[in-house]
């Protein structure tokens, strides 16, 4: 594609070319068309990116940035326009078929625009690559930022827990309870701090029904904790391993949930008696108020084996969009199964709830 510098060649078979000093390849048609070689195009895309994207860049600024002699505004204008057009069509960046879509778009726009005919497949490929690269950059940044936010939130919850629960030790279950006077059991909610939002994975996760409930009820070592109404923490953990994203999350989306992994967020829990592998554990809500709190949270993270089949299928985000108006949905079956076991006070202390 790229023509080495040589004096003008008249090639009867190819399009007549003429090479200028700056390395630009121009055709010698009646209408001199600039040939956008791979290298030139790359410089173009580079310049555009520097300027902040095809929407921000103008032919003038591109020309300045590229600094290629002989390149005129006219050339740049039309090329930029095609470039923009090529970029427009795909709106769904989360689509896996994005690569195909872009290529398709490119080809379509290439076919329709006469000026594009001269472009080679290679150039188009490169443009697609560029575009993808940009999007991947954004994606990567988004992921990092989300992780950072998650980390921060986790520290927030940890500190809040510490404030409320007094000194904590990861290894020991020295959770101090509080009266109903107002301080809630922070433990209940710390787990949410540790929930790191998984970007870019299917939120399948939340409904795929593989969440275990981690509940540590036995607190003999805890003094003054158990007021009658004061129940305990539940911690959600996803069992499925779909998600491998923000690994920093203390609430690790893996089978081997270790309490240590949960960070000091679990300081309020007694780590020693946490059966983690696949056991479903009872939840007890704090009863300071309506008692629906932990119900909700535990429900949120609960496993719904009964619904698993449907859940997995229906939990695709696409499917769920079918739900438009509130459908006559009562609380999920599993909640109902749970509810007999959840009382607002005087919780039973079994560790393994028959959730199975």
């Amino acid at each position: 594609m790229f023509h080495a510098k040589k004096p003008s060649t008249m090639n009867s078979h190819d399009r007549p070319m003429c090479v200028r000093d700056s390395g630009l390849v121009l055709t010698t048609d009646p209408k001199p068309r600039l040939r956008w070689t791979a290298e030139l195009h790359e410089r173009f895309v580079d310049a555009v990116t520097q300027l902040g994207g095809p929407d921000k860049a103008t032919p003038k600024t591109i020309m300045r940035v590229m600094g290629v002699k002989g390149l005129t505004l006219y050339h740049l204008k039309s090329h930029l326009q095609k470039f923009r057009l090529g970029k427009q069509p795909h709106k769904e960046f989360n689509d896996h078929s994005i690569k195909d879509a872009s290529a398709l778009d490119l080809q379509r726009s290439a076919a329709s625009s006469s000026g594009m005919i001269s472009r080679s497949m290679n150039e188009m490929q490169m443009e697609v690559q560029r575009r993808l690269h940009e999007q991947l950059e954004v994606q990567r940044h988004l992921q990092l930022r989300t992780e950072a936010q998650g980390k921060y939130i986790q520290s927030l919850l940890e500190k809040a827990c510490q404030t409320l629960a007094g000194d904590q030790n990861l290894a020991s279950a020295s959770y101090k309870g509080f009266g109903n006077q107002g301080t809630p059991d922070m433990g209940a909610m710390k787990d949410f701090g540790s929930l790191n939002f998984p970007p870019f994975q299917d939120l399948n996760i939340y409904g795929s029904g593989q969440l275990d409930l981690l509940h540590n009820m036995d607190r003999p070592p805890l003094d003054g904790f158990m007021s009658n109404n004061h129940d305990d923490i539940c911690l959600g953990k996803r069992r499925t391993n779909h998600y491998a994203g923000s690994g920093k999350s203390p609430l690790i989306w893996s089978d081997d949930l270790r309490l240590q992994d949960l960070g000091s967020g679990l300081g309020c829990l007694g780590p020693e008696d946490v059966p983690l592998k696949g056991d479903q554990i009872q939840i007890a809500p704090p009863s300071m108020d309506s008692g629906t709190d932990l119900d909700s949270i535990s429900e949120f993270y609960e496993t719904k084996p009964v619904l698993q089949g449907d859940a997995l299928d229906e939990r695709k985000l696409e499917a769920s969009s079918k739900i438009e108006r509130p459908s006559p949905r009562r609380a999920p079956l599993s909640t109902d199964r749970m509810s007999p076991m959840i009382n607002t006070g005087g919780m039973t202390q079994g560790r393994n709830s028959p959730f199975g």
Binding site: G52, V138, S296, P326
Partner: protein
């Protein structure tokens, strides 16, 4: 709350079936026929005709609810199927409930609007409003039922607050900590304080995980900030309402990983704080500051934190800020993220006006997007608010249909108070034009800053992880709006105020 378990509810829908109905539900009350009323009934009630005592209201309201029973009755099966009720009952119920629910939902909306009308309309009638609200409360519960029903419960609650005059933002000293019921009639500046912290934290985390609202606001603003200060070495952000400082974690991370060989800049954040009750969401502004300092240290970002107090009436004085020459100034204004507390318009005005005088490099504004206001007055805005939060609820449910209790918590701790605030605000300013802050900024001489391709891309990517129903629109060159289906919910806009307007 499936039929199998809740016998009482079972009866609600099957009240027509068995003769042993005992629950005093609406459907049973109206067995003696009001059917004719329903056919001719329209939402516009003839208020003039209502001049009698309470009984008349009762009839009126009953008639509004009547068709629910009618629907159920018309779909009734023969009584001998009642034996296998539990088995096939659920199936029957589903069919019925889908019709019944939609209808019931509609009836609830009508009742709510009627109550709003009664409260503020031309024919103000507080007694009528009271009766309607009583009836509504019988019908709905914030804990169960469909989205519409739960939403109606909160709106009922909010209206009740307005009716009783306890709906004012600053009017309440109540401290009911134990929320035994889902209804909280009282709200203050920080209603979250009334909830236990664990509730608040849990609800917030759930909200974060279940919906993109918070992240959308934060990330869009942050991306704009990053782009605006790309080459600066010193950045100063003045945050109107820092809350827990969560927004800044991701910005800090982005700053330390700037590409292009640019050195890591120094970041300074000044948080405006209200004098008086400093206890926010979780912890104080100082605590937020400490947390941010620790976080910055953990990622190696040069950082300093300052606090600047607002006046007692929450007015912002630019002179109270400490500015440093050569720093890029950014004003950040997050107003209506779901878990944010209410801010008085005057306070916001003072912040924005003050910002103008400082000529910041960038001003980021995130606020709720309200529908076209027109002159619907209170009722119009009430309906708009209903629509708004209905979309909210729907968005949560669509993403997490099975997690009703989790959503219930978010609704109770975060959305419920918001609804009360919104209504109280609408109530207080009825008659006035409320304009979005974006409009105010444009009129105030701020210039729009274009939302970049990357920013828009980021927003779309973010939404892509959630339900398909979310969408982001670029409604103006400097404004992205997050919406659910066809309803716009949250707006993020970017502005600048250059010292030389010719720039």
């Amino acid at each position: 709350m499936t039929m199998a378990i809740d016998g009482a509810q079972l009866e609600l829908y099957f009240s027509g079936y068995s003769s042993t109905t005992t629950t005093a539900t609406i459907s049973t009350e109206n067995d003696h026929d009001r059917g004719g009323n329903w056919n001719g009934w329209s939402p516009m009630v003839d208020w003039e005709a209502l001049s009698g005592p309470l009984d008349d209201f009762q009839d009126l309201i009953d008639s509004m609810m009547d068709d629910g029973a009618l629907m159920n009755q018309s779909n009734r099966l023969t009584p001998d199927t009642s034996n296998s009720m539990s088995a096939s009952g659920t199936v029957i119920v589903d069919e019925e409930t889908s019709c019944g629910d939609d209808l019931k939902g509609l009836r609830l909306v009508h009742l709510l609007i009627a109550a709003a009308e009664a409260l503020t309309g031309l024919n103000k009638n507080r007694d009528l409003a009271r009766v309607i609200l009583v009836r509504l409360k019988e019908l709905v519960s914030p804990n169960d039922g469909t989205n519409m029903e739960r939403l109606a419960a909160y709106f009922t609650d909010a209206l009740q607050g307005l009716l009783e005059g306890t709906g004012g933002i600053h009017s309440n000293k109540h401290h009911s900590e134990t929320n035994n019921g889902p209804y909280h009639h009282h709200h203050r500046d920080d209603p979250q304080q009334r909830h236990h912290q664990s509730d608040v934290l849990g609800a917030f985390q759930l909200l974060q995980d279940m919906s993109p609202y918070v992240k959308f606001g934060h990330f869009t603003a942050n991306q704009a900030i990053l782009e605006a200060v790309a080459d600066d070495r010193r950045i100063h952000i003045v945050d109107y309402d820092i809350m827990e400082g969560i927004q800044w974690a991701s910005l800090m991370q982005a700053l330390v990983s700037r590409k292009g060989g640019r050195p890591t800049p120094h970041l300074r954040i000044t948080a405006l704080s209200r004098s008086g009750s400093s206890r926010r969401f979780i912890g104080t502004v100082q605590e937020t500051g400490r947390r941010l300092v620790a976080f910055a240290a953990s990622i190696g970002l040069p950082f300093s934190f300052h606090q600047c107090r607002l006046d007692s009436d929450e007015t912002f004085r630019p002179s109270a800020l400490k500015l440093v020459r050569g720093e890029a100034l950014v004003m950040n204004c997050m107003l209506h993220l779901p878990h944010f507390s209410y801010r008085a318009p005057d306070s916001v005005t003072s912040f924005l006006s003050g910002a103008k005088t400082l000529n910041p490099r960038l001003l980021t504004m995130v606020e709720e997007e309200v529908g076209p206001i027109g002159d619907g007055g209170f009722v119009g805005r009430f309906m708009d608010s209903l629509h708004h939060y209905s979309a909210f609820y729907d968005s949560l449910e669509a993403g997490f249909p099975m997690q009703g209790l989790a959503r219930g918590l978010v609704e109770r701790v975060i959305l419920g108070p918001r609804i009360s605030w919104s209504l109280a605000r609408i109530y207080r300013v009825r008659g006035e034009e409320a304009c979005p802050w974006g409009v105010w900024l444009a009129a105030g001489g701020f210039q729009p800053v274009k939302v970049s391709f990357a920013n828009h891309c980021q927003a779309k990517l973010l939404l892509g992880v959630f339900n398909d129903g979310y969408r982001v629109e670029e409604v103006a060159s400097n404004r992205l709006v997050l919406g659910w289906k066809s309803r716009r919910l949250l707006s993020a806009s970017i502005w600048t105020s250059p010292s030389d307007p010719d720039l």
